[in-house]
Amino acid sequence: MNKRLAVLTLVALGLLMLLTQVRTQPVSAKNLTSATTAKKAAAADDSAINAEAIAALNSMGSYLRTLKAFQVEAVTTKDDVLDDGELIQFDTRVNLLARMPDRLRIEVTSSRQHRLYFYDGQNFTLYAQRVNYYATVPAPATVGKLAEEVDDKYGIQLPLEDLFYWGGPKSKVGEITGAIEVGPAEVGGVTCEQYAFRQPGLNWQIWIQQGEFPLPRKLVLSTLTDEARPQYSSVLQWNLAPSFNEAAFQFEPPTDAQKIVFAGANASDGAGK
């Protein structure tokens, strides 16, 4: 009796196990599949590129490239990272006047610097007013090439240089790995559409004016290559009908100003001119 019971129990157990296995197998497989799908979906979300966001960026770039002359006054902040990771924020005001394709004047003021950048289609001059130093080098033919060249050669980043890259061949829109349309947002009384992008080493956001003048009104960049994630931000005010004359782009050194060189420039570039 006992033996039969034991056998029956075993059989029952075996059946139960079989049943369970049969039942659980497809379920677990299903779970696995759905988990994978979910994971994939999440990954897709992470790197999802919202087509409208990219389109907005492109149309902003195209629009920027149609501008013949413009003036931008920007308030920027930029974090410096101390050796121990502490962030220090600096404020700067930028007043940029561009006449495309080959005239540029930028004035940068902060608590620590007063800089003027001049580009008249022939030469590029950086003038540090407080120390009364300036340096001049021959310049390429366009503002876009100038931005690239002074960065490559002398490590000088023209303030707001993105304005000259978007919509052009050097735009890095193609490197974007994530794009989100955040929604409408107001910047300085102007209704914009806010977007967030990811690209290698950088998360960034942009506020593009709604309507027929798709201008960048605000920018926030978070640098990912430093774990402290320093930020740069810029709020831009636009004047699409600036008044200026040719002299605005030419540097006349004050009588007591002294000529120096750009590090990285050949001594002959600056000497004796």
């Binding site: 101390l82 050796d83 920018l219 320093p230 590090a263």
Partner: protein, 172 residues
Amino acid sequence: MNKTIHKSLVALTVMLLPFSAIVNAGPGGGNHSSRGSATSSVNRGSNNNSNRNSNTNVNRNTNVNTNKNVNVNSNKNVNVNVDNNRGGYYGGGYNSGCCYHQSVGGAVATAAAVTATTMVTAAVVGSMVNTLPPACSSVIVNGIAYQKCGSTWYQPQFAGGNTSYVVINAPR
């Protein structure tokens, strides 16, 4: 006797330097150097940024104006990669206030400087500083401005958008 002290000081300084990135810069307090800053363009390589800011080691200070000791400074005077010779910010005024040799040459440049038996800074050619030693005079050679400090010539320059001084041989 003095010579012995000198030698040991040089040795001590050379030994200490590699371990003390921040060294007392004098009355104004020490400096914190910057390891980088936020990228300001989305269309330029973000990696450029760290390279670009690697020149911030010009902020590494070494005190050669006293032969006494080397103090690691704990003050919070921030010395980051901005326009240093503007003065004020670091207590080191351009052409006026500050009087401390700063070197990227590190131990070698400093050892040379410390070895000098007088207070004259014999800086190594190629080393870079943010602020000039005292009593410099501006000299124009071939239209380019230089700074002559004692027997040492400095070339003012824009480096990565900031102004700094490189020790050079006498310009001709």
